[in-house]
């Protein structure tokens, strides 16, 4: 047997320096992503790049407020990512609702539904602040403290309870089927005639 713990520092270094981001603009923070990725702030220096497919991504940037409708997709996308995966909440809104503290359609505490590793406050956080948050998550990865994915597995009951309370039981199936009648609708009517 190979003792993989021997290679842990190398693997952690690789994980730290090669974070691929899920390309999912969940809120208004998405407007600061292009400057971060392009010539002005160039996050590719640190090996980060947006990745269209969640299956091979590591970092989930929650850019801004989260509505329940988006949160359903966020949870599904988050569960699609292979371990280890990290979540970086961007802006005040995922922390406590921010300016939408009394809005009926914005999530107030994101960490009740999925684990958050690093949160950046501010509305909207400047790119420098985001880079600072990324530096922080890199440090956490290097020391092995970015363990949101482990927490999600260990406390799955807690997260699932909160999710079900918000969306109602069986929300996954309901969401998946929601559009089927409207996609099939016209054909069904024709058959009846």
């Amino acid at each position: 047997m190979v003792d993989w713990r021997l290679y842990e520092p190398l693997i952690n270094f690789a994980r730290k320096r090669s974070m691929w981001i899920v390309a999912f603009c969940t809120g208004c923070g998405g407007i600061e992503m292009p400057p971060l990725m392009t010539s002005r702030y160039d996050l590719e220096r640190f090996g980060m790049m947006p990745n269209p497919a969640p299956r091979m991504a590591d970092l989930f940037l929650i850019t801004g407020y989260v509505t329940p409708k988006t949160l359903k997709r966020i949870i599904i996308t988050y569960e699609m990512q292979p371990d280890p995966k990290y979540v970086l909440a961007h802006g005040s809104c995922p922390l406590n609702g921010g300016i939408y503290w009394d809005a009926y359609n914005a999530i107030k505490h994101l960490d009740k539904y999925i684990p958050v590793d690093v949160a950046i406050a501010g509305c909207m956080p400047r790119p420098e602040a985001v880079m600072d948050g990324i530096k922080k998550i890199m440090d956490l990865i290097e020391t092995g403290k970015a363990d949101g994915w482990k927490r999600y597995k260990e406390n799955y009951e807690y997260y699932k309870k909160n999710q079900d309370e918000l969306f109602g039981e069986g929300w996954r199936e309901k969401t998946a089927r929601r559009w089927i009648p409207w996609l099939m609708g016209r054909e069904k009517k024709r058959e009846e005639e």
């Binding site: 208004c28 996308t77 809005a103």
Partner: protein, 391 residues
């Protein structure tokens, strides 16, 4: 071997319904986790690589602004409503302030008008650069996109110096603007930036707008005619690409636009290429307008209305009535309808984003028969902005 009837019966017994699947088509969920849509979803029914049916599924960005605005005082609402349009947040500020000005019966001072016009034009230019970035990324010319994003940063820096914030400026308030221009140095920087961008425009022409492959990709897809566009409430460059010279700055002039000299580019084809080119020509016109404004120079005088109610904002009250104000944003006709019942909060605020017309019915109809590769390009050529729809 289980027959189909048995399957259906078994499903019915378990409380489920099996729907007949068609053999030729398949469903494709295009977004919200997709690079081409910004948290906006399209449900496509595909036959091979052709779209048979498209259903738009908005609402991922809905925060209930119109309800929230009824709970916040008049001035606090500016910090809220500008979040409707993320690429150019100055537009909701401006229309809301203009509507409140009309309700208050205020004549905004000339200096404030100059500043508002300049800010709106800067917002237009930066939004067009953002759009160019989006179009280039969707077409695959990543070089042009990266450059456009970098040039937009110059305007972000100017905004930061003027207003103190990069993205959400909260700058235009009822009765004028929040603070004065920082000084002549800022004006010089603005002029330098405008000249720089004007100089760089030919790079974009070479890479995107005069590129053979761009023409092949954009020509003849997503065609709208004049009647269809008017019926569907299409506004802005999308309408002008079908041959209707409707520009709010000309048709319903506001601020300093009656004094400015600019052209309204109009093309007749109505396809994605025409829409892209109209936007490109307008971008040039906006730079020209900024130059004119700089030549004019900011008039002297106060930068906001001198009114006692502006000194005690919690007691700011607006007389009862309603007003509608709209401006020309890069996406189209952006309007606000504000109703007051005389209290310290609005009774009703409705923001009319242009994408509510473009993003639902127009897309659903234009996408029928398009190739899958054209879907992102059509979305981008309409400059669909999901937060407008969802509010």
């Amino acid at each position: 071997m289980v027959t189909q009837e048995e399957l259906i019966r078994e499903a019915r017994e378990n409380g489920m319904e099996l729907l007949p699947l068609e053999k030729d088509t398949y469903e494709l969920f295009f977004g919200p986790q997709h690079m081409a849509t910004e948290n906006y979803s399209l449900i496509l029914k595909m036959d091979g690589h052709r779209v048979v049916k498209a259903i738009a599924n908005p609402g991922f960005l809905h925060r209930g602004f119109e309800k929230l605005a009824e709970y916040r005082p008049w001035h606090t609402n500016i910090a809220l409503l500008l979040r409707i349009c993320v690429p150019e947040p100055d537009v909701p500020e401006a229309i809301y302030s203009m509507a409140v000005d009309e309700l208050m019966g205020w004549e905004v001072p000339e200096r404030a008008q100059w500043i508002r016009t300049t800010v709106l034009e800067m917002a237009r230019v930066s939004a067009y650069l953002f759009w160019m970035m989006g179009l280039s990324f969707k077409l695959g010319v990543y070089t042009a996109g990266q450059w456009a994003a970098a040039y937009r940063e110059r305007f972000m820096a100017l905004f930061e110096e003027l207003t103190g914030a990069r993205v959400y400026h909260i700058y235009t308030i009822p009765g004028g603007v929040r603070r004065d221009i920082p000084g002549d140095k800022w004006l010089r920087q603005l002029r330098d930036t405008v000249e720089y961008i004007k100089d760089k425009l030919k790079d974009f022409d070479n890479l995107v707008f005069e590129n053979y492959i761009t023409y092949r990709r954009l020509e003849g897809i997503g065609v709208m005619d004049k009647k269809f566009a008017l019926n569907e409430g299409v506004t802005g460059p999308n309408l002008r690409a079908t041959g209707v010279p409707y520009d709010v700055r000309r048709a319903d002039p506001y601020l300093l636009y009656p004094e400015l000299d600019f052209e309204v580019p109009v093309l007749k084809e109505g396809d994605a290429l025409a829409r892209a080119l109209v936007r490109r020509f307008e971008f040039e016109q906006d730079l020209y307008i900024l130059e004119q404004l700089l030549d004019m120079g900011p008039p002297s005088g106060p930068y906001k209305v001198d009114h006692p109610s502006l000194k005690a904002l919690p007691r700011f009250r607006v007389p009862a009535g309603d007003a509608f104000a709209h401006v020309e944003a890069t996406k189209g006709d952006f309007g606000a309808y504000v109703v007051s019942d005389g209290g310290n909060k609005p009774y009703r605020v409705q923001i009319r984003g242009p994408s509510i017309a473009h993003g639902i019915r127009v897309i659903e109809q234009l996408l029928v028969g398009a190739r899958l590769a054209d879907v992102p390009v059509i979305l981008m050529s309409l400059d669909n902005c999901p937060p407008d729809i969802d509010r």
